[in-house]
């Protein structure tokens, strides 16, 4: 059970090899109640590495599960395996990939893969997790969306489109689940310095995975909500999305 001060005892991470996921588990372990962490990811070697790191945090029970985000049945199997033993207090959906935009435009089949992972895989994971949380009557579903979901930029709109789909799905899901004891936290980080973005020049207001983790940890007891990291992105994106398109087009973003 998550306690009154927002410290969970059990966490399921889908897409566990993400840097934001690792930072989040570290932050949640600092609450001093974390007893069980279930980690699901595609790459078994990278996954065992993460599992070792989580064990080193002093979490007594660490479980590893295989996960192929492009296969909805694999996603479903991972979620039901994670919930089979006992309650899960927090589910973090960190499934995601960043497609190379130029290559995707040249080869649209790459966009299929991005949509399969970022929208379908993560979306199905959220839906299955929501059902499992509803059955246990409590829990928080944290979904990593992106500021790009609010207003995709010219340089990343394929990624933005997949995140926009996921964001819409999970925002609606949060409203649907109101009053069920289950809340959905939709996280919209800006540019986060991770291995996923290591090859890119940092955008303005760039942040660390730890900042995202901190924002997640402080929003586990407030009910369904949308969390911007950093918070200043919200007014910035709000302005950007209302700019006339001829103006937005000329911006160097």
């Amino acid at each position: 059970m998550i306690n009154a001060l927002g410290a969970p005892q059990s966490v399921l991470v889908l897409g566990a090899t993400s840097d934001i996921a690792a930072a989040t588990v570290t932050r949640l372990a600092a609450g001093g109640r974390l007893h069980k962490v279930v980690l699901a990811a595609r790459d078994p070697d990278a996954l065992s590495l993460v599992a070792e790191q989580v064990q080193a945090l002093g979490v007594p029970e660490v479980v590893q599960l295989p996960l192929e985000a492009r296969d909805p049945r694999s996603v479903e199997a991972a979620v039901s395996a994670a919930f089979a033993g006992a309650d899960i207090d927090v589910v973090l959906v960190a499934i995601g990939m960043l497609p190379d935009q130029q290559r995707t435009l040249a080869r649209p089949e790459l966009a299929v893969c991005a949509a399969q992972v970022n929208f379908i895989g993560a979306g199905v994971a959220a839906l299955h997790a929501a059902n499992a949380l509803r059955r246990q009557g409590h829990g928080v579903l944290v979904v990593l969306s992106s500021a790009a979901a609010e207003r995709p930029r010219r340089s990343n709109f394929v990624y933005g489109a997949t995140k926009a789909g996921l964001d819409a799905l999970c925002t609606g899901l949060g409203d649907e689940l109101h009053g069920t004891g289950v809340s959905v936290v939709v996280v919209r980080p800006g540019f986060v310095r991770t291995k996923m973005t290591a090859h890119l020049p940092a955008a303005p207001l760039a942040i660390t995975p730890e900042a995202v983790a901190e924002a997640i940890a402080t929003h586990l007891t407030v009910g369904s909500c949308t969390v911007w990291v950093p918070r200043t992105l919200r007014p910035v994106l709000s302005v950007l999305r209302h700019l006339p398109r001829p103006v937005f087009r000329r911006l160097p973003v």
């Binding site: 059970m1 009154a4 001093g32 309650d87 509803r134 246990q136 004891g181």
Partner: protein, 442 residues
Amino acid sequence: MAERAELLSGWGRTAPTCAFVFRPRTTAELAAAVATAGPRGVLARGLGRSYGDAAQNAGGWVLDLAHFDSIGPVDPASGQVTCGAGASIDALLRRTVREGWFVPVSPGTRQVTLGGAVAADVHGKNHHRDGSLGAHVTRLELVDGQGELRTLTPADELFRATVAGLGLTGVITTVSLQMIPISSAWLAVDTRRTADLEETMSALADLDARRRYSVAWIDCLAGGTAVGRGVVTAGDHLAGDDIDDPLAFAPKQRASVPALVPSGVLGRRRMALFNEAFHRAAPRSADNVPTRGAAFFHPLDALDRWNRLYGTGGFVQYQFASPDPASIRAVLEALRIAGVSALLGVLKRFGPGGDAHLSFPLAGWTLAVDIPARTAGLGPALDAADRLVVESGGRVYLAKDARMAPDTVEAMYPRLADWRAVRAAADPRGVFTSDLARRLRL
């Protein structure tokens, strides 16, 4: 059976979870609900005055015993009364005070059910003299984990596991209680205004020797040496010979707090001002002031739903008991160093503990502090307080807990293993559970 899904939280309004709430009409219906319980179990819930998650059962069933609200006549010779577990202390007092009977132990609110009061083994301002409620319960009826109705007396091991058992040994359906005779609904009350913690503690010890009831409100926000200054009140039931209609008892709710109060209304500064005013308003010393029972025992009951004052973020009440008087100052100091502001503090002396396995009171002192749940650094600060409490041989009140760690409970409640054994025998299928039981792995 007509049940509905409902979002439930404790009085502190933190960590709400969803359960199917069902109101059985008869013991047979109740027993059937227990016998057919699903994998997420069953729990009885009273009026929701536990501060934390003791009366929640996420995803499972919650039994509301509103229909078990009978209040038997008080036997004029013995003073015993048998009530449905869903009857409240409020309802009981409104019935019996007029006939000259008072509850042997009254918590700070009348708005608790008798079943809940037994399950928490509540204490009152007379603990130093009369012990907790369990000591005055003569008989219980309990539906156990097999759906069987059992009658328990203080000689039964299961009785001692059910008192303070947090509803985890079964569903209490009736409670028989030894009432105390009174000749008025009034008390003779002494008041002492104190300048610091030391003076508060010595005034309490001093008044305890003379008075049946005593308690101290303390100011945890006062700076420097003034921390722990307070107002000590102590009293006894008044004969009431010169009072008009001495047994009249009809306390009213004066106001109700609206549903939407923003968090932070009870901020540190505002509460410090309130504390200052409250402290100054108290007489330096007054003796034998006639005071209505409701105002003395249950002052906060006049303000309906006062828990909403803490806003949507809710609050936690941290109450611990310790044999070591120094632990009171140590915990207050630890909270102060962590930058945690306890807005309200209540200090009291305890007499010897009872024989229920998980009963909270133990001979020494108890301090309860209210803190907004969204206070920065509160988790580590209270964990540090837990360590101080354990080191001093004390414990935290489970019926109020919303944040402790499972291992800490083992250290605080040495009879936990005995309790688990009795519980396992009474509920072999593990039907009875709660969010608190899951969180603390009871």
